[in-house]
C-alpha cells in the first residue's frame, strides 16, 4: 500500500470523527503555541534590549568608583588627563555626577535629573544639540553655571519660547541655558528628555560631592577596547591600591551576559511549554488506544482481507502523526498570533524565528510517532479471529 494513500485514509478517518480529533489536537495546539509564544517573546524582548545597547555603541566602557568609607579617591582631572594622554586609544572620557534637583523659572518649578559632565559626554552618549552648544572645556575649567536642557524640561518651563540665554535656578543657584538637547524619547517625563546637563565641576560643588564615582569612556574603536580597559584598570589600581574600589566594564561584555540570560530563559520557558506538549502527546496516545479498541472489528476485517501487520501499524501510526502534525501547524499559527498580540502590547517585535517554528513542528510530528507507536503496535498485533468476533 502506498504512503500517500495511507495519509488520505488517515485524513478520512480523522474527518469522520471531527470533535474527537479536534479535542485530541487541542493538547498539541496548546503545547506548540505556548512554546512559540514564550520563546518569541523572550527572543523579541532581549533583541530589543540588545539593539538598545548596540545603538549606544559597543566601544563604550563604564568605570565605577566605589570608595565609600575610605579616604582614597580619584581626581577627575587625572582621569581626563589619562584620556588625553592616550588619545590614540581613548576617544573620550566623561565624568558623570548624577543628582536630582529642583529647577525654577519665574514661578514655575519642576524636579528633574541633573547630570554633571564634560564635553566628551555628548559624543559618548549620542547627545545631539538642536540649539546652542554643548558643554565645553572652558565651562568645566571655570566651573561656569551653564546648562543644557532636555525637551521635556524645555516644554515644562519655557512652553515653546526660545530658552537660549534665559536664566534658570537649580536648587536656588542661577544657571544660563546655553543649549537645547535633541529629543531622544518622545519628550516624556522621567525619560532621557527629562534632564539637565551642567559641567561636572559645577555639579560637584552644587551637590557638595567629594568626587566623581562614574565615568563614561569611549574607546577609539572595537580593537582598542581591551587596551583602554587595561590602561584604565592599571591607572585606577595604582591610584586606589585596591581592585575592590573600582570596576571597569564594557558593553560587549554586558551583551554577552545578556545573551547567556536569554539562553537560560528560553530554555526554561521553552521547557515548561514543552511539558504541555508532552501532555498533549499523552492525550494522543490515550485517544489512539480508545480508537484501537473501538475499531477492533475493522482491524479484524482488514486482516481477514489480507492486511499485514505493517499495513495496520502504518495506518494507525500515520493517523496519529497526521493528527499531531495538523495540531502542530495550528499551534504554530496560533502561537505566532498570540506572540504578535502580546508583542504589540509590550511594544516589542515578537516574531518567532524559522528555527523555532521548524523545531516545534518536527517535535509535534515526533510526538505523533512516539505516542502513536504503542497503540499502533497493539492494533497490528490483534488476532484476526478474535477481532472479527467482536461486535
Amino acid at each position: 500500500m502506498k504512503w500517500l494513500e495511507s495519509v488520505f485514509m488517515a485524513l478520512k478517518s480523522i474527518g469522520s470523527n471531527k470533535v474527537r480529533s479536534a479535542l485530541t489536537m487541542l493538547g498539541i495546539i496548546i503545547g506548540v503555541s505556548s512554546v512559540i509564544t514564550m520563546v518569541s517573546l523572550v527572543q523579541g524582548s532581549t533583541r530589543e534590549v540588545t539593539d538598545q545597547f548596540k545603538s549606544m555603541g559597543t566601544n563604550n566602557i563604564t568605570v565605577s568608583i566605589m570608595t565609600w568609607g575610605s579616604t582614597r579617591s580619584v581626581d577627575p582631572e587625572d582621569m581626563v588627563e589619562l584620556a588625553d594622554d592616550n588619545i590614540d586609544i581613548i576617544e573620550g572620557l566623561a565624568p558623570l555626577v548624577n543628582s536630582g534637583g529642583t529647577v525654577k523659572v519665574g514661578r514655575d518649578n519642576i524636579s528633574t535629573r541633573v547630570q554633571g559632565t564634560n564635553k566628551a559626554y555628548g559624543v559618548i552618549n549620542n547627545h545631539n544639540v538642536t540649539q546652542g552648544r554643548f558643554i565645553n572645556v572652558l565651562d568645566t575649567e571655570r566651573r561656569l553655571k551653564v546648562a543644557l536642557i532636555g525637551s521635556y524640561v524645555a516644554n515644562e518651563l519655557f512652553n515653546g519660547k526660545n530658552p537660549l540665554g534665559e536664566t534658570i535656578k537649580i536648587d536656588g543657584q542661577p544657571f544660563t541655558v546655553v543649549g537645547l538637547l535633541k529629543e531622544k524619547a518622545g519628550g516624556a517625563q522621567h525619560s532621557d528628555d527629562d534632564v539637565i546637563i551642567i559641567p561636572y565641576t559645577t555639579a560637584l560643588r552644587l551637590t557638595r560631592a567629594e568626587s566623581v564615582d562614574t565615568y563614561f569612556v569611549q574607546a577609539k574603536n572595537a580593537e582598542t577596547v581591551d587596551v583602554a580597559i587595561e590602561k584604565l584598570e592599571s591607572f585606577l589600581l595604582e591610584t586606589l591600591k585596591d581592585p575592590n574600589f573600582f570596576s571597569v566594564y564594557n558593553q560587549a561584555e554586558f551583551l554577552e551576559n545578556l545573551k547567556e540570560v536569554q539562553g537560560t530563559l528560553t530554555l526554561m520557558l521553552g521547557g515548561i511549554a514543552g511539558i504541555s506538549l508532552l501532555v498533549g502527546g499523552i492525550g494522543i496516545m490515550n485517544i489512539m488506544l480508545v480508537s484501537v479498541t473501538e475499531r477492533t472489528k475493522e482491524i479484524g476485517i482488514r486482516k481477514a482481507l489480507g492486511a499485514k501487520r505493517r499495513n495496520i501499524l502504518q495506518q494507525f501510526l500515520i493517523e496519529s502523526v497526521v493528527v499531531s502534525s495538523i495540531g502542530g501547524i495550528l499551534g504554530i499559527l496560533s502561537g505566532i498570533g498570540i506572540a504578535k498580540l502580546i508583542g504589540n502590547f509590550m511594544k516589542i517585535n515578537a516574531s518567532p524565528s524559522l528555527f523555532i517554528i521548524m523545531l516545534s513542528f518536527s517535535f509535534s510530528a515526533v510526538i505523533g510517532v512516539f505516542f502513536g507507536l504503542y497503540p499502533a503496535n497493539k492494533a497490528s498485533k490483534l488476532n484476526p479471529i478474535q477481532a472479527l468476533r467482536v461486535e
Binding site: K12, S16, E298, A304, L305, K308, R309, N311, I385, L388
Partner: protein
C-alpha cells in the same frame, strides 16, 4: 484445492484441553461446491478459520491451491487470504464508514493494485452482483441483501479461486437469502471453488457435497443427488 491431513486444534482453557478439531482429513477438489454442517460446538467455525488461514492448527497438514500453509508465518498467511480466498461472513463485515466501492476495493488495496485500476476492478465486481447503481452508498444506506451482495463483490474483487462463506444467509430474510444462494450457485458454475458453512440443512442441500461435523470429527461426508 484444499488438502487437510489429520488436522488438530486444541484450545487450553485453564487446565482443561478442548479438542475443537480432533483429527480432520478433508480433500476438496477444484470447482467443487461443499457445505460443512453441524451443531454449534461441533468445530465448524474452527474449521472455517483453518480453511480461511485465520488461525493455525495445533498439528496436521493443510495445503491450499498447492501451497502448504500450516507452517506459514502471519505475513505469508495474510498474502494467502488476500490472493486465494474470498470471505463472505454472516454479518457482512463491511466497513461502515466506507462506500460500497471502497469496501470492494479493500482486498485490492492490500494487494497493491493502483488507484484507477483498483476502482475499475471494484466497479466490475459490483456490476457482477447487480449493484452498479449503488457504488457510492454507505452500508447503512443498503438493505441486508444488498450489503451481503457488496460483501460477495468484495470476495470476488481480487479474483480468488476459493470462496469461503460462513452462514451467508444467516442474517437475511428468506427472499434475500435465496437471492444470495442463487448468486453463490452462479459463482460455482462460473468455476469458483466454494466452501459454505451453515447449520441449516436446506441451505446445505443446495451444494453438491455435505460434510457433517460433530465433536471435532467428520461424522458424514456425502454427495447431494
Amino acid at each position: 484445492m484444499i488438502k487437510i491431513e489429520d488436522m488438530k486444534k486444541i484450545y487450553k482453557m485453564g487446565s482443561n484441553e478442548v479438542h475443537a478439531l480432533d483429527g480432520i482429513s478433508l480433500h476438496v477438489k477444484e470447482e467443487e461446491f461443499v457445505s460443512i454442517v453441524g451443531p454449534s460446538g461441533s468445530g465448524k467455525s474452527t474449521l472455517m478459520n483453518m480453511i480461511g488461514c485465520l488461525d493455525k492448527p495445533t498439528s496436521g497438514k493443510y495445503s491450499i491451491d498447492g501451497k502448504e500453509v500450516s507452517k506459514m508465518k502471519d505475513n505469508e498467511l495474510a498474502d494467502i487470504r488476500n490472493n486465494k480466498i474470498g470471505f463472505v461472513f454472516q454479518s457482512f463485515n463491511l466497513l461502515p464508514k466506507l462506500t460500497a466501492v471502497e469496501n470492494v476495493e479493500l482486498p485490492l488495496v492490500y494487494m497493491g493494485v493502483g488507484r484507477s485500476e483498483r476502482y475499475k476492478m471494484a466497479v466490475d465486481a459490483l456490476k457482477q452482483v447487480g449493484l452498479s447503481n449503488r457504488l457510492d452508498h454507505k452500508p447503512n444506506e443498503l438493505s441486508g441483501g444488498q450489503q451481503q451482495r457488496v460483501a460477495i463483490a468484495r470476495a470476488l474483487s481480487s479474483k480468488p479461486p476459493l470462496i469461503l462463506a460462513d452462514e451467508p444467509t444467516g442474517a437475511l430474510d428468506t427472499k434475500s437469502g435465496d437471492e444470495i444462494m442463487n448468486m453463490i450457485k452462479e459463482l460455482h458454475s462460473s468455476g469458483k471453488t466454494i466452501v459454505l458453512i451453515t447449520h441449516e440443512l436446506y441451505i446445505a442441500e443446495q451444494s453438491k457435497r455435505i460434510i457433517t461435523l460433530r465433536d471435532g470429527k467428520i461424522l458424514e461426508d456425502r454427495g447431494v443427488v
